[in-house]
Symmetry: C2
Subunit: 281 residues, 2 copies
């Protein structure tokens, strides 16, 4: 087990049949340390993650078809961007395929909802990161009835079939749903309104969305019940504590990469022969 | 002027009419400090770069069309990957569009050489990074006569026209040609053959390419003479010292971003009104 953890992070956070409405968003499941220990650990474990990611990248360069995909979901201010900066930021940018999915463009709307997602799947050796994803199509689309119920109802099965296909093609999928409390969101939105360097992150619509909190919880609950599979598991991440959220996602990625059993790729050439050639060159 | 620099990095490295063959690849133009000062400075300046990049990103989110594109060229082992990891790695992955251009695919070969490049241009607010680029089409393509002379001869003008168009559309282009000595390359290739965790970076063809060193120098010389424009300047980077190369590229990017005069975007909403709405929510 990873240092300072009383329980493996995968066990502590794996979605089961929890009620989202009952979640203590300020909890730190599985972690036995305090904030300071968590922060120290984050930088230590970032090095481990970076090493594992380089192995994935190296193997991708030498024919291995595998990749890893981190799917991040969460309400506004839940901290998805912080995960990207502080967790994904610890690995080599060469090995990262990051995509932030916003409101679909007109072209994207003319296609099936998975069309734009497929285009951004990580290629072999890459660590893909989706900041929001196809789950928006059963979250905001459901809450605001952007499509008829009959349509979003079918999407859960379509998502499962899609993720099965992606997993079968060699992508390890790690889905993280980040939850903060309504109060914590208020605090974070306040900060965006109080600092001129944060205004750009604020949209008046963010406040409007707060009025739909129960509907979003219901929509998230359905996602967690209907798309939590062995080949694409959901992890429920209490995210009021940013340090914990970042550490937990680091550990989830370390677990996923460790599971691939990655060694450095062997030489596909005769090392001695190449050393002789090199010395003669 | 930046701390520890005797001369602005842009002046010290700007391509003029230098002979590549005469370049001292172990020099550290413009920098007045030593290795340790350089390394300390790199982490300090990485924070400055990261702050500027976030401003670029923020402005991109609020309608500003500008972006920055770093083009990295250099022989095998010149350290392009190290620049990506250690310089680009200091900024938020959300704001980076990184592309590594390898041997063109069959589909890419059927198109004009700039086709695949255009597709990867940074969108507004992004820091684009090209690890190799359209310049391969006048470097390896010229050295190995992959296309007839009449064809690559035309490409310099095409490249200038293309870069003019990209610059006019709001992209600040920074082109860096990294040079190491033939001996330094031998040392670096040796390392790749001596460490099992580096084998994947080695290709027997890298040694073959060493036999074409003078031809590559000539091809680089032509690039620097024919595509060094005000709107897409070349910087000649002696790269035997990795710490210097990384620091210098950091400073070049800081200079490019500073030149954009980026403030935090103003609020496009009434802050007081939104605070009231938030408190009532």
């Amino acid at each position: 087990m990873a240092k300072n953890w009383a329980q493996p992070v995968t066990t502590a956070l794996r979605a089961d049949s929890q009620r989202i409405a009952d979640l203590d968003t300020s909890s730190t499941p599985g972690f036995a340390g305090d904030k300071q220990q968590g922060q120290t650990l984050l930088s230590e474990r970032g090095v481990v993650l970076s090493d594992l990611q380089e192995r994935l990248f190296a193997n991708g360069r030498t024919g291995d078809k595998r990749s890893v995909l981190l799917v991040l979901q969460g309400m506004d201010t839940a901290g998805k961007g912080g995960i990207v900066r502080h967790v994904i930021g610890s690995v080599d940018p060469q090995g990262v395929d990051h995509t932030s999915f916003g409101v679909p463009t007109e072209e994207e709307k003319r296609h099936d909802f998975l069309w734009r997602i497929r285009k951004r799947l990580p290629v072999p050796g890459q660590l893909g990161v989706f900041d929001r994803s196809h789950y928006e199509d059963v979250l905001v689309a459901r809450v605001h009835e952007l499509v008829p119920r009959a349509e979003w109802e079918q999407r859960y099965d379509k998502i499962n079939a899609f993720e099965r296909e992606v997993a079968d093609a060699g992508t390890t999928i790690v889905k993280v749903a980040m939850f903060i409390s309504l109060d914590e969101q208020k605090r974070r939105l306040h900060e965006r309104l109080e600092r001129a360097d944060k205004y750009w992150k604020f949209h008046p619509g963010d406040i409007t969305e707060r009025g739909y909190w129960p509907e979003y919880q219901k929509a998230y609950q359905a996602v967690l019940e209907r798309t939590n599979t062995d080949y694409a598991p959901w992890y429920i991440l209490p995210a009021d504590h940013k340090w914990y959220a970042r550490l937990a996602v680091t550990e989830l990625l370390i677990d996923a990469l460790t599971g691939l059993g990655l060694d450095w790729p062997p030489a596909d050439f005769d090392v001695e022969e190449q050393l002789r050639r090199l010395d003669a060159s």
